[in-house]
């Protein structure tokens, strides 16, 4: 583990003393390795290591800690503060229907998350409407309908019409049926697909969303920054949802997407069942990434 590796590096530094530049440099090699193996983007790692080094060199080792524990403490603090220092929820509209759009790469978990989010919000007293705006993937509409049916939530569809028109019509439908939250499930798409990225901008302009959340697979590697940066450039992202955290991926992509977009990670998917959605806790993610 990282703590043990740092322990070996610092074992010469018995008892009191300041952390020397040489010792910290060696320790940072281990920290860098741990973060890269956790899939944190290498540029994000560079920035992090720079900041941690600055905070560590010349530090007095606290009485209650070993030098290794002192460095780990600093690393943990930097990771946690980068993750967002507290939990974040949906920003509901104060006077009208709250519209949430879920976006992301193919297969990241949007359709399942739309159901999970609908269920979570309805448990909190909201009346959500799920909107089938993926008109491309085979049986995508059916998939959302099956999910809606399992949860007893209404699903709005117009079949394979223009997703922009579907989104606009869904608001009217929500008003008519007294729904106060609209969750729009969009088709998976590449961040480099101009046409489909424009479609999202059009959907967003049409519904004037309250939340646009990027759904990211937690096992994504270095490419997470490219995806997040491009989505963030084209759309006013308001949040991130990390999925498939019930596996053993370290989830370094969480750090990368947060660093590059500045958006809060609001929820995490912890399984395939429709009740497997949890609030995101920054400190838990920090220690998972560190391994």
């Amino acid at each position: 583990s990282l703590t043990n590796k740092l322990g070996d590096i610092f074992k010469k530094l018995r008892g009191k003393g300041k952390l020397s530049e040489a010792d910290v440099k060696q320790a940072m090699r281990e920290v860098r390795l741990a973060l890269l193996e956790a899939d944190v983007n290498f540029k994000v790692v560079k920035d992090l290591v720079f900041r941690i080094t600055e905070r560590s060199v010349g530090q007095e080792v606290m009485d209650s800690l070993t030098p290794a524990q002192q460095v780990i403490k600093i690393v943990n603090e930097e990771l946690t503060s980068l993750m967002g220092s507290k939990e974040s929820r949906i920003n509901f509209s104060s006077k009208d229907i709250t519209t949430i759009i879920l976006v992301g790469l193919q297969g990241s978990g949007k359709t399942t998350t739309a159901g999970k989010l609908g269920r979570l919000l309805s448990k909190g007293g909201k009346r959500p409407l799920l909107v089938a705006a993926d008109i491309y993937r085979p049986a995508a509409i059916t998939q959302l309908q099956v999910v809606g049916e399992k949860l007893g939530l209404p699903v709005f569809t117009m079949g394979q019409q223009d997703p922009v028109n579907i989104s606009r019509a869904s608001l009217e439908y929500a008003r008519k049926h007294n729904c106060d939250v609209v969750i729009i499930d969009t088709a998976g798409r590449l961040h480099i697909d101009d046409e489909l990225m424009n479609e999202l901008s059009e959907i967003n302009k049409t519904v004037n969303s309250n939340e646009i959340m990027l759904v990211v697979d937690s096992m994504t590697g270095q490419d997470a920054v490219n995806v997040a940066a491009e989505f963030n450039k084209r759309l006013p992202l308001t949040g991130l949802i990390l999925t498939k955290l019930d596996g053993d991926s370290r989830g370094g992509a969480a750090l990368s997407v947060k660093a590059v977009t500045g958006c809060p990670i609001k929820y995490v998917g912890m399984g395939e069942k429709l009740d497997d959605l949890e609030i995101f806790y920054p400190e838990r993610m920090a220690s998972r990434i560190l391994g």
Binding site: L105, P138, Q143, D217, T220, D246, G247, S249, E272
Partner: protein, 272 residues
């Protein structure tokens, strides 16, 4: 990468960063950089250096070509959302175009509309699909598909399975059972498992590969979503550690977006 003609320490650092950013991983990257330094003593220009590095990467991939004998049963496995069902549609299309009789087994009886999705692909390609109701036992769907395959003299039976995380013991046990059913019920067939891997996946891919290998001893990888910006470098580590080749790559969501893997094209793309 700067195209300075002279090779210095900065050149090696830049190449190392390129590999890391391609998801090659720290361990495999270190190994490659060591080999590169050993083999590049006489080299004094960047292009030549890159060629040496590319050749080192290509050497990691097994040389054998795709080996499929008939009748064949192909069990398609992998974690959630990587592109199994879509890849099966593409494979069925490819084999049908080669004159093979293909049958699909809709053994993902768990996920919402999974059977509907595979059925649409089956109809697009024009091949039969064996399916039961949602919630049915996947093994019974597979059993019926094998029976139908034998009766209809199918050359290839492709079995779609539910996405599952490799860390879920009960789900991996279910997969082992499917694998056993293939061998037990159709011993005269060539049973091959293929693991579908998403090119955007990071180091977790190695853990996935190890567990799926242990469960169904897969012979090849289908590396999907290479039409994005991810380079799929994790395939190199998997080739190096488990000696498993990539059979096909997915380069889009359309029926023809499947290509045979070319190690040279793959490494060239990393250095673009």
């Amino acid at each position: 990468l700067k195209f300075t003609k002279k090779i210095d320490e900065e050149t090696f650092d830049e190449l190392e960063e390129l590999l890391i950013s391609a998801d090659v991983g720290v361990c495999t990257t270190q190994e490659l950089m060591e080999r590169l330094r050993e083999n590049s003593k006489k080299i004094n220009n960047l292009e030549e250096l890159k060629t040496v590095l590319k050749d080192e990467i290509i050497n990691f991939f097994p040389k054998e070509s795709i080996s499929l004998t008939f009748p064949a049963v192909i069990l398609v496995v992998g974690v959630n959302g990587v592109g199994k069902t879509t890849s099966i549609g593409k494979l069925a299309n490819r084999y049908k175009a080669e004159g093979k009789k293909v049958i699909l087994a809709a053994a993902d009886t768990f996920r919402a509309a999974a059977v509907d999705q595979l059925e649409i692909w089956g109809n697009r390609v024009g091949v039969d699909i064996i399916k039961h109701k949602e919630g049915a036992d996947p093994a019974s769907v597979l059993f019926d598909a094998l029976k139908a395959g034998k009766a209809r003299k199918a050359d290839i039976i492709i079995c779609d399975t539910a996405g599952r995380l490799h860390t879920k013991k009960n789900l991996m046990a279910e997969l082992k059972k499917l694998y056993r059913v293939c061998h037990k019920e159709y011993p005269e067939a060539n049973v091959t498992s293929l693991m579908v891997l998403d090119a955007t996946t990071g180091q977790n891919a190695l853990s996935q590969a190890r567990m799926f290998k242990e469960a169904v001893d897969f012979s090849g990888i289908i590396l999907t979503k290479l039409d994005g910006t991810a380079k799929g470098g994790i395939a190199i580590a998997i080739a190096s550690e488990l000696k498993i080749p990539v059979w096909y790559i997915g380069i889009g969501e359309g029926i023809n977006d499947l290509q045979e893997f070319s190690p040279q094209d793959f490494v060239d793309a990393i250095f673009i």
